[in-house]
Amino acid sequence: MADDINIKEMESDEIIELMKEDLYDGFVDEVVEEVEELLARDWEAYDVLTKGLVGGMDIVGVDFRDGILFVPEVLMAAKAMKAGMAILRPLLAESNAPKQGTVVIGTVKGDIHDIGKNLVAMMLEGAGFTVVNIGINNDVNSYLEAIREHDPDILGMSALLTTTMPYMRTVIDTLKEEGIRDKLIVLVGGAPLNDAFAEDIEADAYCRDAAVAVETAKKFMKIKQEA
């Protein structure tokens, strides 16, 4: 692919479009080349991230939601995005890119599902959040430790089983007992969840996919900052 197309001869806007396509197709090397080319043209890391990588992943998200792409394709696209972000991350850290806040995210106790949660983590990072991904099978103590260590603005919990999602209530109740519930924005997600459940367990919001999670996280951060 990259042999036929010489990206050095392309307009920057065209490179962005190509990056989105290559990300969609999971072409890791091509995406890396395109990221490096734009950086060589003095593009801001933040713009490469948002216009190219996040832009491409948003399309992947929509097609996944619509049943055009399935898990394998999404994971390959995520690999390409991850490779691009690895290059951008150090540049973003030292730049004036807007920092949104810190998120601790993990799948609840007894649940091993993490594909969706990992995508949310990646997209939140793409949106400027510092993300601490504590993995799967997290009991209350695991969440509390991470909260104490990283002092996040947002706690994200994920579950794919109807049998594990009630554990989210246990975590939230413990946050209340510890007197720290009010310091956190609690977002929950996973296939069997819905708004009613989130309300019932007194989470702040249910997010049905990565795109919604990012928008919701930003919205709540804005409210927090204005308070």
């Binding site: 399935f70 898990v71 394998p72 099978n137 019932d200």
Partner: protein, 293 residues
Amino acid sequence: MNALDQLLKSNQPILLDGAMGTLLMSAGLEHGDPPEEWNLTKPEKIKEIHRAYIQAGSQIILTNSFGGNRYRLALHHLEDQVFELNKAAAEIARQEADAAEGTVLVAGSIGPTGQLLIPLGEMSFEEAQEAFTAQASGLAAGGVDLFWIETMSALEEVKAAIAGIRQVSELPISATMSFDTHGHTMMGVDPVRAVTELQQEDISLLGANCGTGSDELIKAVQAMLGANPDLPIIAKANAGIPQIVDGEVVYNGTPEVMADYARAVTDLGVKLVGGCCGSSPEHIRAMAEALKT
């Protein structure tokens, strides 16, 4: 001729059993705890469930070993007991099947590892195969009549399970996949592709289980039958979908719904029918009645 062939010879559809995991939750299994542990710590509860399904009319019962591979058991620090837990699962079912009046077969349930295979994840085909061999050894030692690979999303993982079983046993193998994502499995496999690829493997039975509700499963088996499979087809649908009602998980599929579904799929040509998550002996009884008429 083996026991399975005998059963398949008849013109009648074969009635499978219903859920195990969701029933165990009702019997006190904690959210997130491994059902397989009860094979050693509370075998009488497992026996009760098998007995209830047999009394409701099940002709094939599945062992309580769905998550009995080392990857799933490792979450509960039980990965060193793969053999014991699977053997116990099979022995418990064997006892109940042998005590039954009619012919009841014991199928060794083998569910997914929960790991993704390379290149999407970190598990190699060989590692998956080894995990399934370890599980199959225990099930065979405990006396299963056949192996029941189920709720699979990835074709490669099904193949790894078949290869793993064949390292230690020549007993018949069944394979069902879960079509829960826009009519495909989560990994993008559609029912027709499942038929064309899997019927080339060393299996005797093929079909669909779990997923969303019975309506979606009916569409999946319809598509499978439309592909003119060489093998008998299985339908093992959930009793509706789970909802949280007053903090409890409740499946909204009634016995009547399951009876209708049993009639519908057998009319289409499905040979083996049962229930999955949320179904109980009551559902199976309703299905048995429906199949008699």
